[in-house]
Symmetry: C2
DNA sequence: GTGCTTGCAAACTGTTTGCAACTAA
DNA sequence: TTAGTTGCAAACAGTTTGCAAGCAC
């Protein structure tokens, strides 16, 4: 099922409407690699269709989060980023504080352990957030990555 | 070494000054249990000594973070919280989304695993953040906790 | 036509900053 | 005396919201 279909389905179950803005935003999102900033998204969307207000982007992204079309991340720099949500594909993040590179990873062992710990404290986990911050060991590649972003 | 001593030492190494505001803020912090909000702290400080501006609280907390007197946490509700820093006592957080209870925990196994993963991706970890969000299994206790906060 | 959506600008929240007065050393 | 510090208010960044006009169904 394409994301447009997913969106259409979501909207109709709620009595909401499909609009050209929502379509453009979704298409733009799909064309951009992971972890877009709202600002980046705004600029990109306006290249596809000028006159889309930023309030619309904000509202639409909240809607997309509800529709499970995107996932929202707020890392320590305070800037909210979005990426397309993949069913059952939870992952965590590894972030280089020098160059800003964001790496995704997944670890079965840690997840299990988290659940065990939570259970021990009488809490059932619904979501979690794990971010590892550090610095690239390869200084050259790090510097190069910084230039490009 | 008391925290006041620690602060004094930190200030002198930087050529900064001890002031009555810094003293009051630190004393107030020590009298409050974990995870204070800036607002809560402001109110509490002003009960001890009126006329302390909120800008001073903000500036002082940043200073205390640098001095390793407090630790700063920004959980998903977007509100920054502080707690007194304990040397070598890193811990993560388990948060009930129903009642707001915050539990601290520490897990050697997870930490090791995190380092292994980071190394694999060529990054040396300096800090990390792990927050587990869920709901208390004991509904009664949960409701009671919510009342009190 | 009805009611959801949009763009704009204004409002809001949490935080930072410029500045003149003040104070620790 | 002199440089750091404070309180105030204004500035800021990111986000939300009220509203009249516009558009999907």
């Amino acid at each position: 099922m394409s994301l447009i279909d997913k969106l259409e389905r979501f909207l109709s179950t709620r009595g909401l409407k499909m609009t050209s803005q929502r379509k453009v935003i979704l298409e733009t999102l799909e064309s951009i690699p992971y972890h877009v900033t709202l600002d980046e998204l705004l600029v990109a969307v306006q290249q596809n269709r000028s006159g889309v207000g930023q309030a619309t982007i904000y509202r639409t992204m909240k809607l997309f989060v509800e529709a499970e079309i995107v996932e929202e991340h707020r890392f320590d720099d305070g800037i909210t980023r979005y990426e397309i949500y993949e069913e059952g594909e939870h992952h965590d993040h590894l972030i280089c504080l020098s160059c800003g590179k964001i790496i995704e990873f997944e670890d079965e062992l840690i997840e299990e352990r988290q659940n065990a710990i939570a259970e021990q404290f009488g809490i059932r986990i619904t979501t979690h957030k794990m971010e590892l911050y550090g610095h690239c060991v390869d200084i050259k590649a790090c510097r190069a990555h910084k230039q490009n972003s």
